[in-house]
């Protein structure tokens, strides 16, 4: 959906176009800089390359009405150190001027439906946050047009390295998922073969989504944005379930694995 504001590209220096982008939203829950920095640091320690030149919009409508104005310059600086680039703030009409003086764009708050952060893996194996994604070049043919969120997609072939499968609803894989392959589903994911790639369930923010697999040897597991790199060797409940038939769910903001 592009609307052209100037015409004839031939003899002009630039052209303005409207575009729709998908951005990561950071919801601020309080304006305490210390707790903000602590959480940010903990996050970047867990996944140092999680954010790389990632544009971020900070949502302020989630702040309590009576709170002090957040120090947007300081926050922008800290985000920058973690690889995130704060481009705008959204909501919190009372902070509009604060945003402007920090050199940030201000956007009005609008209720949108799919605003949960999702973890997605890039080709190079680094996790990055996005809110939705497009299938990449080598991926399976995709048809999301007009599919309701509850529809189940069934794949009866192996999902190979470099392929990405997305289902708005549940995703059922009857065969194996190779290392380097990626499954994304708005709902649950079932894998009836060997799961060696990455499985991300509840990508639109459904914390009730679960992952079931017949043989668990996954590289990465994620539910509703909570992810875990599982191809690890150290002794844990995850390594003890290696190669087994398992169920993975989210409870109290943590991923849990159990034998099926």
């Amino acid at each position: 959906m592009n609307s052209t504001l100037t015409s004839k590209p031939s003899n002009t220096a630039f052209q303005l176009k409207g575009g729709i982008f998908t951005l990561t939203t950071l919801e601020l829950h309080n304006s305490c800089l210390i707790s903000f920095c602590q959480q940010l640091q903990a996050m970047s320690e867990k996944a140092p390359h999680f954010f790389q030149q990632t544009p971020v919009v900070m949502a302020l409508e989630t702040l309590p009405a009576t709170v002090d104005a957040p120090d947007l310059r300081a926050i922008a600086g800290r985000l920058r150190e973690s690889g995130m680039i704060l481009v705008a703030v959204r909501g919190g009409e009372q902070f509009r001027y604060t945003a402007e003086s920090a050199g940030l764009a201000w956007l009005p708050f609008q209720k949108t439906k799919s605003e949960k952060n999702v973890v997605m893996m890039q080709q190079n194996g680094q996790p990055m946050p996005v809110e939705r994604h497009e299938l990449n070049g080598t991926g399976q043919k995709e048809d999301t047009s007009g599919i309701s969120g509850s529809e189940t997609k069934i794949i009866d072939q192996p999902v190979r390295s470099g392929q990405q499968i997305y289902a708005p609803g549940d995703l059922v894989i009857l065969s194996q998922v190779s290392p380097g392959a990626e499954l994304l589903a708005g709902g649950h994911i079932h894998v009836y073969g060997l799961l060696r790639g990455r499985a991300l369930a509840g990508v639109n923010g459904d914390p009730e989504a679960r992952i079931f697999c017949h043989r668990f040897e996954a590289e990465l597991i994620s539910i509703s944005g909570h992810y875990k790199l599982t191809g690890q060797t150290e002794e844990s409940s995850w390594s003890r379930h290696w190669g087994q038939s398992v169920l993975i769910k989210l409870a109290e903001d943590r991923l849990h694995i159990s034998r099926l």
């Binding site: 080598t138 991926g139 399976q140 043919k141 072939q157 192996p158 999902v159 190979r160 390295s161 470099g162 392929q163 065969s175 194996q176 190779s178 290392p179 380097g180 392959a181 060997l194 060696r196």
Partner: protein, 271 residues
């Protein structure tokens, strides 16, 4: 109907050209009219291994561009009846290949040949996509090492999503695993993946295991596909491959390390 078979791998140097040459030769020796096409535009290897490099005048790109007729570019093999080679150009790049051009060449070849064997370049870029697009079957050429297996897996994904059969929602491309440069001794030492490992990861039927063998390089240097040398392991392995491809049921060979000689056994037991 001619069958189009691509020999592909993703990774380079795994033995695609060696396999294309022996496989095509083997089919022709069994009486099937076969043409083998070099899609590795810019490198041109197949004609060397087939021993016809001095007879190359026109190539695949010339034919696609209408600079030569197909029959002018086709080279009849000197050793084997029923076999022709369509060489690649050394001076062009892979971008010269177009789907329309290739389709026209295949349509014409299909009138004269039963099997069209396509020797793919390495990678997953344009040249490799051109080589696999029209395939009915694919020989997934793989070495028993992790990087090769991973690339084969990738190519299988591409066959499932980007080939003509996938795009037109026809029956999928028939996949065969060819495990080559297999060294049972090194597999036993744990330096290389074994047959079961590779099969488990790729999950496609095993067509043949070709052992690592010095005879392959010797044969290439003489411009004679190794399948002609039936005293060699590699030659026999390719013979089995062709027979199985044509429907024979043969047990797999060359998977175990060579039997130890009497003296080695004696030394072993004393050590």
């Amino acid at each position: 109907m001619a069958r189009i078979i691509v020999v592909t791998s993703g990774k380079g140097g795994v033995g695609k050209t060696t396999t294309s040459a022996s496989f095509a030769t083997g089919l022709a020796m069994k009486g099937h009219r076969t043409v083998v096409i070099d899609f590795d535009v810019g490198l041109r290897n197949l004609d060397l291994i087939m021993g016809c490099e001095r007879r190359v005048v026109y190539d695949l790109v010339n034919v696609i561009n209408g600079e030569a007729a197909l029959h002018q570019a086709l080279i009849k093999d000197k050793h084997t009846e029923n076999l022709s080679v369509l060489p690649a150009s050394q001076t062009r790049d892979k971008e010269a290949l177009t789907l329309e051009g290739i389709e026209a060449v295949f349509d014409e070849l299909a009138k004269d040949f039963e099997y069209i064997i396509c020797d793919s370049p390495a990678g997953i870029e344009h040249g490799a996509l051109m080589a696999l697009y029209f395939a009915d079957e694919a020989i997934i050429t793989t070495n028993p090492e992790v990087s090769s297996v991973r690339d084969s897996d990738r190519i299988l994904g591409i066959l499932q999503s980007k080939s003509r059969r996938a795009e037109k929602k026809l029956d999928p491309v028939k996949e065969h695993l060819l495990l080559t440069r297999y060294n049972p001794t090194r597999v036993e030492m744990g330096d290389m993946l074994n047959v079961e490992d590779v099969q488990e990861i790729l999950a496609i039927p095993l067509l043949a295991v070709v052992p690592e063998s010095k005879d392959v390089l010797k044969a290439s240097n003489h411009g004679i596909p190794v399948i002609h040398q039936q005293t060699t392991d590699a030659g026999q392995a390719y013979n089995d491959m062709v027979a199985r491809f044509l429907g024979a049921e043969l047990p797999h060979r060359f998977i175990e390390p060579p039997k130890k000689g009497f003296f080695q056994k004696v030394f072993r037991s004393r050590a």
